[in-house]
């Protein structure tokens, strides 16, 4: 495999990447995933929420990052539905509501009923709506995604204002949603905040986890796989509901490929630089 052909034509690299991912997936191999501290912190927080607490799940990601955040939404929603909690679903990205419906359709909702235990309130278009919700949900989101008046829902009668929420988790792909919740919901009302983040922006949230502003951070598909294994350890269920665990072997293989590529790339670079120096 001539190194120089790699240099000029990237398509060979693309093919290698495809192979390195396809083989582990076809083998359906599964691997144990070590638990990152920020994942366990979120799991323990949700597991220890007092019964009948109100949770807000905010689907703030576009369909482009479904592979990173959708598995997280599935496992976290499944965990919340297995505990005696009440859930409101909102979205700061207009792609959110249909993705919420797809998650609700796929998970085991137990005996929870719509309107009493959970409700989908749909899209929040601007920060003004977000700032208003802690004071009065129905005034700023007058209709749920099924067309019912929000005020008529039993869950809203029980929790008319979002400031009664014990905690909000945002599945966020560009940090704007998380910063809005940190600035306005936690800034004014001290509501606990957690984030399911895409891998690129997750390092940027570590200062907020360190300062205690975030009670947990899930990092991309690996966070989902860790959460899924924690859920499985506790409730002996849900292994494979998100497709994250079965991606871990392919993830490992692709990561090793990237390391090899950088090492080989730099080796070739230094060799060519040294030979050109000797020729001068």
């Amino acid at each position: 495999m001539a190194i120089s052909s790699l240099k000029s034509d990237p398509r060979l690299v693309y093919l290698i990447l495809l192979l390195v991912i396809t083989v582990p997936i076809l083998s359906n191999a599964v691997i144990a995933v070590p638990i990152t501290p920020t994942t366990r912190a979120l799991y323990d927080f949700i597991q220890n929420l007092p019964p009948n607490s109100l949770v807000v799940e905010s689907f703030d990601y576009a369909t482009s990052v479904v592979p990173e955040l959708h598995p997280q939404a599935i496992v976290v929603t499944q965990h919340i539905f297995m505990r005696p909690l009440k859930v409101l679903f909102v979205a700061l990205d207009n792609n959110g509501p249909p993705l919420t419906d797809a998650v609700l359709d796929a998970i085991n909702k137990g005996n929870k009923t719509y309107g009493v235990d959970y409700a989908t309130l749909g899209y929040i278009p601007n920060t003004a709506t977000l700032i208003g919700m802690p004071s009065n949900i129905a005034q700023f989101l007058p209709r749920d995604t099924r067309g019912n008046p929000t005020a008529s829902l039993p869950i809203i009668k029980e929790f008319p204002a979002a400031k009664d929420a014990a905690f909000v988790i945002t599945f966020d792909d560009d940090s704007s949603a998380l910063f809005s919740y940190l600035q306005y919901w936690q800034g004014s009302f001290n509501i606990s905040v957690a984030v399911g983040a895409t891998a690129t922006i997750a390092p940027g949230f570590m200062p907020f986890y360190n300062s205690g502003q975030l009670v947990g951070v899930l990092i991309s598909i690996r966070g989902a796989a860790e959460y899924e294994s924690l859920l499985n350890q506790q409730y002996n269920c849900c292994l494979g509901i998100s497709g994250a665990s079965s991606a871990m072997v392919a993830l490992s293989a692709s990561h090793m490929l990237i390391i090899a590529m950088v090492v080989f790339g730099n080796a070739a670079y230094f060799i060519s630089r040294r030979t050109s120096k000797r020729e001068k």
């Binding site: 560009d174 690129t200 922006i201 940027g204």
Partner: protein, 256 residues
């Protein structure tokens, strides 16, 4: 009657202190006509453009996907003004690719006026400044197409960038001799740093803007916030030292 909301008193007082400190430093800086610190690589731009002209290859510039109110885009346009002026001087062919319609209008005027100032309006051709798409990946694909076809000697991609930055950086690295990047978006900076010969990291982008425009008011606006940064450093040092000896008075004050 009027009362401060508990838990936010320290924030209010600190906000006033920081704003006053910044205002004073800004006034002092503009009075004394201070300059922002130099940015390594700005002077190399001139050499690169000269080399591009010599090799009869174009110079490519794209200010990213931001709009006219995005600070990164404004800093990028300041740099474009500088690059356009030097391209006209060394008569290197300048190409600009835009994503935002309003930025397209502004960059057209800037390149036209660069030629006009040198009295060579007729050399400006409309295809030098091209509007591609507001859509992230359509914009990236468009830029990559231009880079591959035009094979510019120098590739500038400065301003507001998202995930498409890697595609531009990698295609540019494979085509251009020199690559100059800059953005405040930390998520994309790693791909700038590892593929560019020179990168403006975060706020250095605004420093370059301050460095290029001789207007003292703009420079004071950049130097003012230094007061806030020094204040933050002093507070952290004081707080950390105090708590090391078990005294959390400053932390309690901050949460008043």
């Amino acid at each position: 009657m009027l009362e401060l909301i508990p838990g936010r008193i320290a924030q209010a007082i600190l906000l006033v202190i920081v704003l006053v400190a910044i205002y004073e430093v800004a006034r002092f800086a503009s009075k004394r006509k201070l300059k922002t610190r130099g940015i390594p690589g700005l002077e190399r731009i001139d050499e690169w453009i000269k080399e591009a002209a010599k090799l009869n290859r174009s110079v490519f510039f794209t200010p990213g996907t931001g709009g006219i109110t995005t600070p990164d885009t404004l800093a990028a346009l300041a740099l474009l003004g500088y690059v356009a002026k030097h391209c006209v001087e060394h008569n290197a062919r300048l190409l600009v690719g835009n994503s935002d319609p309003q930025v397209q209008q502004i960059t057209e005027d800037m390149v036209k006026s660069a030629y006009a100032k040198a009295g060579r309006e007729k050399e400006y051709t409309p295809d030098m400044v091209r509007y591609i798409s507001t859509r992230q990946f359509a914009y990236a694909a468009g830029i990559m197409g231009i880079l591959r076809r035009e094979k510019p000697a120098v590739n500038f991609f400065v301003g507001d960038f998202q995930a498409e930055a890697l595609q531009i950086a990698e295609t540019g690295r494979g085509v251009a001799i020199y690559q100059f990047g800059g953005t405040t978006n930390t998520d994309q900076l790693p791909f700038f740093m590892t593929t560019c010969d020179q990168t403006l990291i975060g706020e250095e982008l605004y420093t370059a803007q301050g460095y290029l425009t001789s207007d003292p008011e703009a420079i004071s606006r950049l130097i003012g916030p230094d007061a806030g940064k020094i204040l933050a450093i002093l507070l952290i040092l004081a707080g950390a030292l105090l708590i090391t000896f078990g005294n959390s008075i400053l932390i309690a004050l901050m949460e008043l």
